[in-house]
Amino acid sequence: MGSIRVEHLARIEGHGGITVELDGNEIRKVQFDIFEGARLLEGLVRGRSYKDVAQILSRICAICSSSHALTSLKATEAAFGVEVSPQTTLLRDLLSLGESIESHALHLFCLALPDYLGYAGVVALAAEKPETAALGLRLKKLGNLIQETIGGRAVHPVNALPGGFGRAPTLDQLITLRQALRQGVADGAATLHLMASLPPAEFCRSQTVFAALASGSDYSYYQGDQVVVLADGRRETIAAANYRSLTNERTAPYSHAKHSSYNGRPFMVGALARLAARREVLNGQAGEALDRLGLRLPSDNPMDNNKAQAVELAGDVERALALVERLLREGLDQERCVPVVPRAGTGTAVTEAPRGLLFHSYIYDDEGRVLWADVVTPTALNAASIEEHFQAAVRQTAGAEPAALAKKLEMIARAYDPCVSCSVHLIRSSDAA
């Protein structure tokens, strides 16, 4: 078995590759390569008004742009001690559900599924299995409809502001959403059925540490400020403000990247981590789906992240429908943003982006200008775990042809749903502020 090099990984967001160097059965180097140019947005945002920060930093990533905007607003509001209205919180929850539906549908149907079914992409898939492609595109469109209705745009939301929203949706818009979501419930069920029918992906087992945002009974991706870490059957909690204890980075001898670790161990974030950390609040068809998909939590197979996304996707549609019904029942107030008065201080926020934990932390001066900004993205957090799972797969498929092994490593990378544009922090060596 020689060395493996995947120059430019297809069907992921951004520019990444894979390098594996072997010396006999000895693994010399395993690397998830990042070729993304450095935009230095955290540096460029310094000196800017708090009013501009979410708009600029949402541009870190398109697929997770709602998450970046919401996490940014949450951090800014924390710095200034701003409490938004309950309606704003509900609408932000709905916006993050829309993003999750779009992102999971895009990843499952357009990026990951072609591997399982033997197609190059969703267009090739559509040529032979038009109903499967149509199912994915319908769900994707549903997620975008939510983001357009609440966020004002499917990519880089414009309507989410410090203190609230520019304009709340109209009743007519909510009724349209409810109709679309009701139809979407069946599509969620069909997705679970499809995932249960896929061939097993058994080539990488490794005991994994997981980290996810602790959630209340509503499985929110937006609310909360406590991070749960699951390791060896133990459950520990870290406050968002102490996020640096999770993002401490170490140098890995086989990789050029600096890696996030918890107590010296890589950890995985994303749908599989969330299911493991929040299992007790799963309900509806999502809860029933775990058995059907053979998903045992916590899972030691990273490929299960695809199944976990399907479970969330089905649940997200139900949760979004429940939220819209609640908003229709309670009525919508065409309220203005609550007043935002800047003050000097630090604000840190965490949310669950579709790919996992996302942190934004800012220091503001007394006029509300950014002195310092830090963004830690899920793909940056996952990088070490991706490489650990590459190593496990290389060990567990000893003797495989390089091309076959390369395909498996690609599938592992893809299962993490990496968002390389997001990985602004991968090659950072020091966290000293």
Binding site: R11, A38, L40, G43, L44, R59
Partner: protein, 247 residues
């Protein structure tokens, strides 16, 4: 008629403009039927990376030697190069301040040992190669992309507005945020095509589509000044998506 051979590429950016193409859920399969999409790495693992192309759609800005080399290769293999999105057309958010000491910024953000060797100040595509058509927007508007494809299929070059967002905002009968609400709204300086998406939500325009050629800059600057915004902040705000020395 033979289908035009098309490549869709991303340089450094957020992939939002490629995502807008994938977000054409209702049109995607028709689009794939009308075009011969040969190279689209974000959506397919079966790409012809060397073939001649009739049209290349390129999003993102040039931020590294690698970006620059990829762009030159794309230019060499295509007839028509389309800059897709504000980063490609103007440089975008990464180009908002090209004067700051980049080495210092890199060390500050990535740490001393983490400094990357392949990094450059952001450039728009036209600063590196010839560009045949610009479709701006952060991200691009779906309708403009689909319209441009329809035009190209009929051997026409699409025409986009050169007037400011204000024109579309008035058509929608929105209250003027600049005059009536006293907000710093970049509508008068920003090229239309978004149907005044933000002002329609009572949100001031941030200028994400880049400058309008037909704009009264002096008058807008004077109005912003009257809103009490210091000149330095005005300039920074206007450069957020397009550096001053762009076009």
């Amino acid at each position: 008629m033979t289908k035009p051979r098309v490549g869709i590429f991303g340089l450094t950016g957020c992939a939002g403009d490629q995502l807008v193409i994938l977000n054409c859920e209702d049109e995607l399969l028709d689009l794939a039927g009308a075009l011969d999409i040969r190279d689209f790495l974000m959506a397919s693992s079966d790409n012809d990376t060397g073939c001649a192309l009739d049209v290349a759609l390129v999003e993102g800005a040039v931020l590294s030697r690698r970006d620059e080399e990829r762009l030159r290769k794309i230019r060499d293999r295509c007839e028509l190069l389309v800059a897709l999105g504000t980063c490609a057309v103007w440089g975008g958010v990464a180009a908002m301040d090209r004067d700051t000491d980049r080495a210092a910024l890199l060390t500050d953000i990535y740490g001393v040992q983490g400094a990357l060797d392949d990094t450059q100040p952001a450039r728009a595509l036209h600063e590196v190669v010839r560009v045949d058509l610009n479709i701006s927007g952060c991200p691009v508007e779906k309708e403009q992309v689909l319209g441009a494809v329809a035009n190209l299929l009929n051997s026409d070059l699409p025409a986009f507005p050169d007037y400011p967002v204000c024109a579309e905002c008035r058509v929608r009968e929105n209250n003027c945020l600049l005059i009536e609400a006293g907000a710093v709204c970049c509508g008068p300086l920003t090229v239309a095509g978004c149907q005044a998406r933000c002002p329609a939500l009572r949100v001031p325009c941030v200028g994400c589509r880049g400058p309008a050629s037909d704009a009264n800059i002096a008058s807008a600057l004077a109005m912003f000044g009257e809103r009490g915004l210091p000149r330095e902040q005005i300039v920074r705000k206007l450069r957020t998506f397009a550096p001053a020395n762009g076009h």
